[in-house]
Symmetry: C2
Subunit: 569 residues, 2 copies
C-alpha cells in the first residue's frame, strides 16, 4: 500500500515535535501549527462507558483512552452514534466522530507519531496519533502494535487534509485520534489483504517486465557481469507473488474483505434486486419450488442423489418443471431465485456444481417473442441499473481487475441461429451438427462486438436437436425450435424457449427422447386441464456478474463456490 499522502500529517507531526524542518513554504507550516493547536485543544476522552480490560496474561498496555474492550456480550446500550468511514467528508471538519472499523495498516513514524489506516467495507481513512498530553507513549506503542484486521472503536476529530491522502479512499479528511479501543483482536494473518487486493494490472506489468528481461538474457554475447545484473533486475521485477485462486478460496473470509470483492457481492445483490424490481413491476410473482424432487428432473445426467427417509430423492437441476406447473396453475407470470444443482464433473472457468438460478416463466397470448422481449428488456434494465446506481462498486472492481465497460443497446441485436452460423462461416468457422461450440460462441461475441458495438445480444431459433424434449418447434420449419439464448461478452447467460403446452405432444416428445414418462407423470398431467402457451428462461446469477465485470472466473462471483473439487469452506 502506497504511503504517499500521509506526508502532510507526518510533516505536521515533525514540525510540532521540533524535529527536522519540512521543506515546504512557511505559510504551509503555519497552517500545520494552527492545526496542531487545534489538536492540543482536544479534550481527553472520558465517556468511559465500556471499561478497558487488562488481561493478566497479555502484555497489553491500556489507559483511560486506549486498550482492549471487554468481549461484547451486550452489557450496555448507551446509544452512541457511529459514523461510517464512507460518510466522512470535509463538511464534518472539527467534529468529533466515533468510528467502528478494521485496522487496515498501522505504522509508527519515529516514536511520536502513528498512522492507522482504518477500513470499513470499500472505504479507508487515515487516523493519526501524535504524542500529546493524552496521546501517551504507551498509547502510541499500543496503537502501533495493533494487529492488522483487528476491529477498533476510534473516537477522533475530523481534520481536513492539506494534500490528498493517496493511500486512502477518503483523501480529503483524516482523523485526529482521541481514543482507540480494540473490539476484536485479529491473530496474525495467513494472507495479507494488500496481496489479495493487488490489481491484476500490477501482475500483468510484472510479467511483461520479467519477460522483457528474459528476452535480454537470451543474448548469448552478454558478459557475466551484465547477466548477473539482469538476473538481479529480474528478481526485483518479480516482487509480488500472486495469490492463487485456491488459496484465496481456502481463506475466503479474508479474501472477501478486499474492496473489489466487497463490491462484487454488493453488485450480485444488486442484480437480484434489479431482476425482482423489474419483474414485480410487470406483475410477476415470486415462487419457491422444491429442490428435493422424486425423479431426475429434466435430464437424467448430472444429478445429485440423496437419501430421503426410506427412499431417495434428487436435487433439482432447475425449477423448469415447477415453474411451468405454476403457469398451468394460473400464476401467469412467475420468477424464482434459488439454487440450482448440477453434478457435472467439469472444472471450467464458468461451471459450478451449485449456482443461483434467476428463472422466469410467462404465459403469452400470441407469440413467444412477447416473452423474449421481456427477457431482453429485463437484462438491459439490469445493466442500466448497475451503471446508474452502483457506479462506485463497479469502480472498485475495476480498480483491481480492470475491464472494458459493458456495452448494450435497447433493444438488443437479435440474430437467428442460421444468421449466427453464417457469421461464423464467414470467418472460416465450420458449424457442426447445427450446434455452435463454446469456443465459437466466444468468436461470435467478438464479431458482434465489432459489427454492432455490443456485449449483449440474443440468438433465436436454435435447432430442435440441441434443445430439451419440452421445447416447442417452429411452426414453419420443424427442424427449428422456438428457442433462444442470451449472451454476454460471447458467453451464454440464459437459455430459454417456448415450451410445449399440449399434454399429448409433450408425452410423445418425451417418449421419442427416451424419457420414462411415468417418472414425469405429474409434470405431463399438469397440461391436461387447460394450459396457456408460455415461454421462459433461466439466467445464471454468477455468470451475469462475472461477464458484466469481465472477470475470468465464476468462482470470483460465487461467495462460497462449489465445484467437483471444492465443498469447503
Amino acid at each position: 500500500m502506497s504511503e504517499t499522502g500521509q506526508q502532510n500529517a507526518a510533516a505536521a507531526a515533525a514540525a510540532a515535535a521540533g524535529e527536522e524542518k519540512s521543506k515546504k513554504a512557511l505559510n504551509r507550516e503555519l497552517k500545520k501549527q494552527q492545526k496542531e493547536e487545534k489538536k492540543k485543544a482536544f479534550k481527553q476522552p472520558g465517556d468511559g462507558q465500556q471499561k478497558p480490560q487488562q488481561p493478566k496474561e497479555e502484555i497489553v498496555t491500556s489507559g483511560e483512552n486506549f486498550g482492549k474492550l471487554t468481549l461484547n456480550q451486550s452489557q450496555e446500550r448507551p446509544g452512541r452514534t457511529f459514523t461510517r468511514v464512507a460518510d466522512l467528508n470535509p463538511s464534518l471538519e472539527g467534529q468529533e466522530v466515533l468510528l467502528f472499523a478494521r485496522v487496515h495498516v498501522s505504522r509508527a513514524q519515529g516514536n511520536k507519531l502513528v498512522f492507522i489506516s482504518l477500513r470499513d467495507a470499500l472505504s479507508t481513512v487515515q487516523a493519526v496519533l501524535l504524542m500529546s498530553d493524552f496521546i501517551t507513549k504507551s498509547m502510541l506503542k499500543f496503537a502501533a502494535g495493533i494487529t492488522k484486521e483487528s476491529i477498533v472503536e476510534v473516537k477522533g476529530k475530523v481534520v481536513k487534509t492539506t494534500a490528498p491522502i493517496e493511500s486512502c479512499t477518503q483523501k480529503d479528511v483524516e482523523i485526529a485520534v482521541l481514543s482507540l479501543f480494540i473490539v476484536s483482536e485479529a491473530l496474525h494473518l495467513p494472507l495479507q489483504i494488500e496481496d489479495l487486493a493487488r490489481p491484476t494490472e500490477v501482475f500483468e506489468r510484472q510479467r511483461q517486465d520479467v519477460a522483457a528481461i528474459e528476452q535480454k538474457l537470451q543474448d548469448l554475447s552478454l558478459s557475466e557481469e551484465v547477466k548477473k545484473g539482469l538476473e538481479e533486475d529480474k528478481s526485483k521485477a518479480n516482487k509480488f507473488a500472486e495469490v492463487l485462486q485456491d488459496t484465496r478460496l481456502n481463506n475466503r473470509v479474508l479474501d472477501l474483505r478486499v474492496p473489489a470483492n466487497q463490491a462484487i457481492f454488493k453488485l450480485q445483490s444488486a442484480v437480484g434486486m434489479l431482476f425482482r424490481e423489474y419483474l414485480l413491476n410487470k406483475n410477476f410473482i415470486e415462487i419457491h419450488s422444491p429442490k428435493m424432487i422424486s425423479s431426475a428432473s429434466e435430464s437424467g445426467a448430472s444429478v445429485f442423489k440423496l437419501g430421503y427417509f426410506d427412499t431417495h430423492a434428487y436435487l433439482a437441476q432447475s425449477p423448469q418443471f415447477y415453474k411451468q406447473m405454476a403457469i398451468c396453475a394460473d400464476m401467469e407470470r412467475v420468477f424464482e431465485i434459488g439454487p440450482v444443482f448440477r453434478a457435472e464433473n467439469s472444472l471450467t472457468h464458468r461451471h459450478l456444481t451449485e449456482f443461483v438460478g434467476l428463472d422466469i416463466e410467462m404465459a403469452f397470448r400470441e407469440h413467444y417473442h412477447e416473452v423474449l422481449d421481456e427477457l431482453d428488456n429485463l437484462m438491459t434494465s439490469i445493466f442500466e441499473g448497475l451503471e446508474k446506481r452502483f457506479a462506485k462498486e463497479i469502480e472498485s472492481v475495476k480498480a483491481q481487475y480492470g475491464f472494458e465497460p459493458f456495452k448494450y443497446t435497447r433493444p438488443s441485436p437479435r440474430f437467428t441461429f442460421d444468421q449466427a452460423a453464417a457469421m461464423l462461416k464467414a470467418i472460416g468457422e465450420e458449424v457442426v451438427d447445427n450446434d455452435i461450440s463454446t469456443a465459437q460462441e466466444k468468436k461470435l461475441g467478438k464479431i458482434i462486438k465489432e459489427s454492432h458495438g455490443v456485449d449483449f445480444y440474443i440468438i433465436d431459433k436454435f435447432y430442435a436437436t440441441a434443445r430439451p424434449f419440452y421445447t416447442m418447434r417452429d411452426p414453419a420449419n420443424p427442424l427449428l425450435a422456438n428457442a433462444y439464448d442470451l449472451f454476454m461478452r460471447g458467453e451464454e447467460i440464459c437459455s430459454g424457449a417456448q415450451r410445449i403446452h399440449d399434454a399429448k405432444m409433450l408425452e410423445e416428445n418425451a417418449i421419442s427422447h427416451g424419457i420414462n414418462v411415468a417418472s414425469i407423470q405429474d409434470y405431463i398431467d399438469a397440461f391436461k386441464y387447460g394450459a396457456s402457451p408460455h415461454a421462459g428462461g433461466g439466467v445464471g446469477l454468477e455468470r451475469v456478474v462475472m461477464l458484466y465485470l469481465g472477470i475470468g472466473n465464476i468462482r470470483k462471483t460465487s461467495m462460497f463456490p462449489r465445484d467437483p473439487k471444492r465443498l469447503t469452506p
Copy 2:
C-alpha cells in the same frame, strides 16, 4: 356456485326470445330490449387472424366466430390487446374487449342462451351468448359443451348489468360474446374447482347441522317415520364432501387455481418482497450461501446426506454458519432467502422437510437489541405492507378460510422468558427445564392476545441450555442467553440470538457441546481475524404466511410441499 345474478341477463334473453315474460316492471323490460338492440348491432367478428382448426376425428362444431384454435406455436403476432378480467368495469360499457381466460362454468339455459363464467386468476366475469344472426345454434352448442378449465379467447362487448351478478367477482359488468375460441381444451377434471374452493365455513355449518340431527336421533322415543325423516335430513345436510389435504396436494396444479390459493401465493411473494424492500432500505445486502456443505451444519441430527462425486455432502439446515462468515467478511448486514432442509421425521401441521428461510445477520455496535429492534420493525413492516397493499388477496383467502384479522403494535410487546414462564404459571402451567412446550406456546399466545391485544410479540432471554453452542450468554446471568424468538398467533416464526464472535469462546463452547471441532474448522477460523459483535435470526416464510392468514396447515402455504411422506408432485 350460486347462479343468482344471472337472472337479469337471462331475463333479457328470455324477453328477446319471446319466451315466458319477466315479472319485472315494464320500464325494466324496455331497458333490456334496448340492450338487445344494442347486441344485435354487434358486428360479426371477422379478424380471422388465427384460423379455427377442425380436427377430423373429433365432433367439434366450428364456424367463423367459434371453434378450436390451432395449437399455438407462435405462428403469428398480430399484437392484439387483451383485457384482464380484473380490469373490466362499467366505464368500459359498450367497448369491445378481448379476454383470455378459463371456462369456470358453462351452462345453457333453454336452447337460445348460454352463460359462461370466465375466470382469470382471482376474478370471474359472466359471458353471455344469446342466439342471434351470428350466435348460431351450433355456436351455442359448442359454447355449452366446452369443458371446465379450458382456456378460451373471447371477444365481446362490455355490458353494464342492471342487477349485480352474485356468482362472479365482476358484478357490475358482463360480456356479450361476439366470438369464442378454445386455446387449450381441458380433459374432464378429477376434482371440481368449486369443491376445492368451497369455504371451510360451509363445512363447519354442515358439521353442526349433521351433529344437531344426530343429537335428535339419540332420542329413543322417536317413531320410525320421524327417524327416517331425520336420516334423510342428515344425508341432505351432508351434501358436500370435503376434499382432503392429500387429494388436494396430489392434484396441486388444479388446487392452486382456486382463488384463495392464487391469493396465498401472491401473498407469499409479497412477504418476500416486503422483507427485501425493508432490508435493502436499511443497507443490507442479499447473499447466497451454498446448500451443499461438507459437514452436518450446526447440528448433527436431521440432516440429508447426498453423494458428491467421490465423497458425500449434506444439505444445509440453515445458512447460519455462512451468514456469520459473511459478517466476518465485512458484509456488515446480510440477508438470504433460500431453501432450508430438515430431515426431521415429524408429520405436524407446521413442519416441512424443505422450507424457505428468510435469514438475516447483522453486525451491531453496542447491544444485540439493535438487531432485535430491526427484526421487530421488519416484521411489523411486513404486516403493515400486506394490510395496505394486498387487501384484495387477504379478502380472497378470508372468503374461503375465514380468519381473525392479524393484530400487532409497533413496537411489539416484548417479554423475557422468565416473564413468559410466570404468565404460564399464573394459569397453572408448569414450565419444565426452562423450556416452553409447543402447547404452552399456544396458551401463551392466547394470554398475550387477551392482555395486550396482539398476535405478534417477542420473547427474549431464553435459557442457554435451550440454544445452540454459538449463542452468546447474558453478561449478568450465565444461565441465560442473548437469545429471542418471535411469535405469531402463539407459534414461533423466528429464532435468533447474539452469536459468539470470539474464536476461542466459540471453540470451547463447541467442545463442551460435544461437537467435532475439526468438522467446523472453517467456521471457527472465520472469527480469528477480527469479528464484529453480531446477531440475527431466521424466519420461516411458509409459517409467516400460514399464521398471518390463520390457516391451520403449512402445506397450504408451500406451493409444492415436502414432508417425510411427500416428495411429489
